[in-house]
């Protein structure tokens, strides 16, 4: 089921076109990663999807509705740049935002949300005394009020320590297991690679790469890296290695019992293994190394 449907979404600021016609869908229970360089149009897109700003052209449907007002109860948003009421405590914030959303969670439910994001013990502390990381966590917490079906998280872990980042990542994964849809942006590509089921890479207002990690790896990496764990081999064979494998590989590199081969097509892997066997070289393990999101992003 499509939860977010975006068609030809454009945003102009003055004469400048920032978002140049985005089209994509996000499905139920999916963690959708939206990545791109600074100024590529990520936050502008999130703002348009969540009603913070309006598209200049095109449209987006959230939970089947074009009018975002009709689904505000069912969505949770953590905008990239937003501030708090410094005289209020974390718990007061959640109570206030719940009231604005016209829902009445119990104090225990709100405490549990704060606990889930790692703000346990700081519930009654005024936000003016919060660190940057704590404010980030409160941003995630306020998005969780009312168990929303769709979550928009704009850089939810930026500026957090490793432990906190991992906790938020786990929280996102748990929510996706409960069939909630998460649309997130991040500059942490390793995090996106780890938790997102599908990814869109936006560059200069246009999506130029889009799909699951596997799709992206297949589509955007022609070369493959194969690592082969070998048994003991004499030095003369090591020196001959490049020559033996030259018909199949672009480049070889031997280091501490491992042979790394850069090949054009993964179908060449059996031929490499056959060539090595012919030389009576023991093979313990063959691993197909995949391109990282970082490599795909930079391509």
């Amino acid at each position: 089921m499509k939860v977010i449907e975006v068609k030809n979404l454009k945003k102009k600021f003055g004469d400048k076109l920032i978002v140049k016609g985005l089209t994509f869908d996000v499905y139920e229970g999916e963690i959708f990663g939206f990545i791109g360089r600074n100024g590529a149009g990520k936050s502008t897109t999130v703002n348009m999807l969540t009603g913070i700003s309006y598209p200049s052209e095109g449209n987006c449907h959230i939970l089947g509705q074009e009018n975002i007002d009709l689904v505000k109860k069912d969505i949770g948003v953590m905008p990239d740049a937003a501030n708090y009421y410094y005289e209020m405590t974390a718990l007061e914030h959640l109570k206030f935002f719940a009231g604005v959303k016209k829902i009445k969670p119990t104090t225990i439910e709100l405490m549990n949300i704060l606990k889930a994001v790692g703000l346990e013990g700081n519930e009654r502390k005024k936000v003016k005394a919060f660190s940057f990381g704590m404010k980030k966590k409160l941003g995630v917490a306020q998005a969780l009020i009312g168990n929303p079906k769709v979550l928009f998280l704009d850089e939810p872990t930026s500026g957090l320590d490793i432990q906190s980042s991992l906790e938020i990542q786990q929280l996102i994964l748990d929510m996706a297991k409960e069939k909630r849809t998460i649309f997130m942006t991040s500059h942490n590509l390793a995090e996106v690679e780890k938790i997102c089921s599908r990814i869109a890479i936006i560059e200069d207002g246009v999506i130029n790469k889009y799909g699951s990690m596997e799709d992206l790896q297949k589509k955007y990496t022609n070369e493959q890296l194969v690592s082969i764990e070998l048994g003991q081999i004499p030095q003369n064979i090591v020196e001959k290695m490049t020559e033996i494998l030259s018909p199949f590989v672009i480049e070889t590199h031997y280091k501490e019992g491992y042979l790394y081969c850069r090949i054009e097509d993964r179908n060449l892997t059996p031929k490499i293994i056959f060539a090595l066997s012919k030389e009576e070289i023991e093979i313990f393990e063959v691993k197909q190394e995949k391109a990282t999101l970082e490599e795909i992003f930079l391509k």
Partner: protein
């Protein structure tokens, strides 16, 4: 909407400035009414209570200044600090404006009511019509304040402008209310001499109907027009706010 309304109402109520405003209204009403009470009968306005004259004068003269000074930043403060982003993702924008407007209006209803109750106790009479008139006037002030806070994006500017307008508008209001225009002369001469100079004659006359002071002089339902003008300002803000990027 109601959460926002109560938040605005209580934050105004709890502030020192608002307590000072109510105290000012009551205290000055007493001082002026005592002064008016000592005047010979022919100087006083017939049967009109000096208390009533005082409170009407005070709201008319200082309503704008206090209204704008207390709430000039009701919208732009949220936009400037970007707290509005949390609000607009949780509730329709119309609820946001309506909630905030009602919150300020509720505060003024409270302030005017408290002042009237205390004054009525001493005057031994409750002036219902004047009470409604003043609430209608304050609705105009609330609408105007919301509009100012929406159009002036920076709180420092809106504070400065609100002080200027708070002094200027009552003075302008008193001036334009006193203006009388010979309609026949204007209508017949305008098509012939339609120069800018002639058109300018219309500005104070136009202001007379736009500002709330003119309607103060009516002892009829026309006194409620400022209320509807205030609502009109809020509707205008809602329409514009609905399409603005935050």
């Amino acid at each position: 909407m109601y959460t926002l309304m109560w938040r605005e109402f209580f934050s105004l109520l709890k502030s020192f400035k608002s307590i000072a405003v109510v105290a000012f209204f009551i205290l000055v009403t007493f001082i002026i009414s005592r002064f008016l009470g000592k005047l010979p009968y022919q100087f006083a306005l017939g049967n009109t209570s000096p208390f009533l004259l005082s409170i009407r004068f005070l709201v008319g003269a200082f309503g704008f200044l206090f209204g704008l000074a207390l709430s000039h930043d009701i919208l732009n403060r949220e936009m400037e600090s970007q707290t509005i982003r949390y609000l607009v993702t949780k509730t329709p924008r119309i609820n946001l404006i309506a909630g905030k407007s009602l919150g300020i209006y509720l505060f003024w209803i409270f302030s005017v009511t408290v002042s009237f109750i205390i004054i009525s106790y001493y005057a031994k009479s409750f002036f219902l019509f004047s009470y409604i008139q003043l609430l209608s006037f304050m609705a105009y002030v609330v609408g105007f304040t919301i509009m100012l806070s929406f159009f002036i994006k920076k709180t420092t500017y809106s504070m400065f402008i609100s002080v200027i307008l708070g002094i200027l508008i009552p003075a302008l209001g008193a001036y334009v209310t006193a203006i009388k225009i010979d309609w026949d002369t204007l209508i017949f001469t305008l098509p012939v001499n339609n120069e800018t100079g002639n058109l300018l004659v219309f500005i104070p006359y136009f202001l007379k109907f736009i500002l709330p002071y003119y309607y103060f002089s009516f002892d009829s339902a026309l006194s409620l027009i400022p209320f509807f003008l205030g609502v009109l300002f809020i509707i205008l803000v809602i329409i514009l706010f609905k399409r603005s990027d935050l």
